[in-house]
């Protein structure tokens, strides 16, 4: 009798552990909060403010998804991950999605079995040096000591760049951005390299940002975006179309201020479909009709999020550049909502 209970328990445990990953939406709704993986702290992208509230460009994506799925933009549990722990956290189910300036690459998509659900920032790898080092180009960096976050694509690009230009360097491997900042400021490395946006954000946090400069070379393409696990397409769709909703909202002129007003119904059928007054897009996603309205209301449309966190008016001061709408000469282009 006892034996059969024991083996029964074993079998049940095996079944539970072995069951697939295909109900993330259900899990999130049952739990009542979204577990979102973010960086351990990169001002502008994801960092806790003085009250301990997470805020930033990547954080806004998490909040939008939480608002769409749970109806509450604050129902997010932010889980800080480093460059080397992020994929384990996602693959093991510790987090539901990762929004952590992660570059969309072939092997991560195909071999690591992740699904990138869009691009929220088009970036490239750059170099930061001290102004008084007398260097004006990355091609003058032969023999330099370079601080680099391990387990990242920047690490591989760096090796390729120096190799292609027949230069040598001394890598100083580092786990987090804060550590890199400290090492760089202590002069333990001449150069800090990571995505140009990350460099700008890091420099903005320095005591004297003007003493440091970004070199003009951008040595790689770094399309950054949120990602989820393979194998749960419904959940992938939700994060993908939440991001698209933020991008489309900017294009269609929907802001956090007028979203409520527009949700009453407009002349524009695409706005109506997006905001749920027409058609049944929400239902197709397994959510209610107001999902996009809530996502946009959470922190605004893509442009509002950009301007509030990393735009020209913030300390980080990034220009829209490639991240402008396609109608303004940028690369942002949401597939149609129909």
């Amino acid at each position: 009798m006892k034996k059969s209970v024991f083996f029964g328990a074993l079998a049940a445990a095996g079944l539970v552990a072995g069951a697939g990953y295909a109900q993330t939406l259900q899990e999130v709704q049952d739990r009542g909060s979204l577990r979102c993986g973010v960086t351990t702290g990169l001002v502008g992208f994801a960092a806790p403010d003085e009250n301990g509230e997470w805020e930033g460009f990547d954080v806004a994506v998490c909040r939008a998804v939480a608002a769409a799925v749970l109806g509450d933009a604050t129902a997010v549990e932010f889980i800080p991950t480093t460059g080397s722990t992020r994929f384990t956290a996602l693959a093991s189910g510790e987090i539901d999605m990762l929004a952590r300036n992660t570059t969309w690459t072939f092997s991560r998509d195909v071999d690591l079995e992740f699904e990138f659900t869009g691009i929220n920032y088009y970036d490239g790898q750059g170099f930061m040096v001290r102004e008084d080092l007398g260097v004006t180009s990355a091609l003058e960096l032969d023999g330099a000591t370079v601080c680099i976050q391990t387990g990242t694509t920047t690490e591989l690009n760096l090796a390729d760049f120096f190799r292609a230009n027949d230069m040598s360097y001394e890598p100083v491997p580092i786990e987090t951005n804060a550590e890199a900042q400290q090492q760089y400021l202590a002069n333990a490395c001449d150069v800090y390299t990571t995505d140009a946006s990350g460099l700008a954000a890091t420099r903005a946090a320095f005591e004297d940002p003007s003493a440091h400069m970004l070199l003009p070379e951008i040595i790689s393409k770094e399309p950054l975006g949120p990602l989820v696990r393979h194998g749960d397409n419904a959940w992938g769709d939700i994060t993908r179309w939440t991001l698209n909703a933020l991008i489309a909202a900017e294009e269609l002129g929907i802001t956090s201020e007028n979203v409520e007003e527009l949700a009453a119904g407009t002349e524009n059928p695409e706005i109506n479909r997006l905001l749920g007054t027409e058609g049944s897009l929400g239902e197709m996603l397994g959510l209610d009709a107001d999902w996009a309205q809530r996502a946009i209301a959470a922190s605004g449309n893509y442009g509002e999020i950009f301007n509030a966190n990393i735009g020209p008016d913030t300390a980080i001061g990034l220009a829209r550049g490639l991240n402008a709408q396609w109608t303004d000469g940028g690369l942002l282009y949401s597939p149609p909502f129909r």
């Binding site: 445990a13 460059g83 080092l133 000591t145 391990t150 360097y169 202590a186």
Partner: protein, 407 residues
């Protein structure tokens, strides 16, 4: 089944004896425990395999032959970003072994020294050693590593401080050693072409000679009782022949000084801050434990031994070397083996300061770039187990040689 309480021994074997008979009970319990452990293990493996399957991942080590794509600062063998992940693993393994071997040597020296000092009759000396032991033993290793690294990088000048007309920092020892926040640059020994082999042979011959002198001196002392200055002859044999041959060859051996070139010093040998920090912190930390072992070992030798030796007219340092330490070794050696094991395993904390040891290369960068968590972690465990078992094996061999021989 009803319980049978018959105690007659001659009725042959009954099933209930497995539980009620003390002759069989322990065996039964062990077999049941074994079955439980094995099925638990089987469940874990089955679970892992099923989960990997569900996540759509296979289990193979093919990634080891792929190009690694990343660079490693300290590589004792040829390595570039075009090498394979296996090469990166070997580079990491050698870095681990380097810091482990040097750490074991340093912690032994520190530990024996401090252990002996702790028993000194001088109050100040005794208590300095005591403070060292208590402070290092009671704070986690990781904190020591980070602290030493922080001190090294924050308190030393950057290479650029050596530049210019009136530099803020200058090199030591006739401009041959530079202490910077990226490490210590020391001169490297260079050989003129073709002379390296000759010098190596000469050096090996001097080592043989040192060994021979030691043997001869021991035999002579046993026969005649006269002592011979083995240490000084040994030191002379270590340096003089090589330098003599070098002189005959016309100064084939040279020193390459580190010089400022571009961003950093180049030439010479760079001892990276990460390496020094890890080595120093591990040696000091483990040295505190070794000191306690040594103290315990010395205290285990009866005081009468010391007094007897003193009454023969032996000087204190000879008493320590000839009478006390040889006997104390029997107590010291077994816990020393586990100290060496601890030091080796603690070297994996290198990841905190970016020293590229086995965990830094295979366990961090390779794991991350390939996403092969299961494989890399299993491989890491396998390698560490192998290293540890090797250390215990040789430690135990040595232990057997110093244990009390009963004749």
């Amino acid at each position: 089944m009803t319980a049978i309480t018959d105690t007659q021994p001659d009725e042959g074997f009954r099933l209930s004896q497995l539980i009620y008979d003390t002759r069989y009970r322990s065996l039964t319990i062990q077999i049941i425990a074994l079955i439980l452990v094995l099925s638990g293990l089987g469940w874990l493996i089955r679970n892992a395999v099923r989960n990997l399957e569900a996540a759509g991942q296979d289990f193979n080590f093919g990634f080891l032959s792929n190009t690694s794509g990343y660079d490693i600062g300290q590589h004792l063998i040829e390595y570039s970003s075009q090498s394979t992940h296996l090469d990166a693993t070997i580079v990491g393994l050698l870095n681990t072994l380097l810091v482990a071997v040097l750490g074991c040597i340093a912690c032994t020296i520190i530990g024996v020294f401090m252990g002996v000092l702790r028993l000194s009759p001088n109050w100040i000396v005794r208590n300095i050693a005591r403070v060292y032991v208590e402070v290092f033993r009671n704070v986690p290793t990781l904190l020591w590593i980070i602290l030493v690294f922080a001190v090294l990088t924050e308190s030393t000048p950057a290479p650029r401080a050596f530049r210019g007309e009136d530099p803020a920092a200058s090199m030591l020892f006739f401009d041959s050693v530079a202490i910077t926040n990226r490490g210590i640059y020391v001169p490297a020994i260079t050989f003129e072409e073709g002379t390296a082999t000759i010098l190596t042979i000469v050096f090996l011959l001097s080592l043989v000679a040192i060994w021979g002198v030691r043997r001869w001196a021991k035999a002579r002392q046993a026969a005649t009782g006269e002592t011979f200055p083995v240490l000084w002859t040994g030191l002379a044999l270590f340096f003089v022949p090589v330098l003599l041959v070098n002189f005959i060859l016309g100064g084939a051996m040279g020193l390459e000084r580190p010089e400022l070139a571009g961003f950093n010093f180049s030439g010479g040998v760079q001892l990276r801050s990460t390496f020094i920090a890890l080595w120093l912190a591990l040696s000091l930390y483990t040295g505190a434990f070794v000191a306690e072992n040594v103290r315990a070992g010395i205290l285990a030798v009866s005081k009468g031994q010391t007094e007897a030796a003193a009454s023969l007219g032996l000087r204190p340092n000879r008493i320590m070397n000839l009478v006390v330490l040889p006997q104390a070794l029997r107590v010291i050696v077994p816990p020393m083996i586990s100290n060496y094991l601890n030091l080796t395993k603690n070297s994996s904390l290198a990841i905190a300061i970016g020293y590229q040891d086995l965990v830094g290369t295979l366990g961090n960068i390779t794991r991350n770039q390939t996403g092969r968590e299961m494989e890399t972690v299993l491989l890491l465990m396998l390698i560490y187990v192998t290293i540890s078992l090797t250390i215990s094996f040789f430690g135990n061999l040595y232990n057997r040689s110093v244990t009390l021989k009963e004749r």
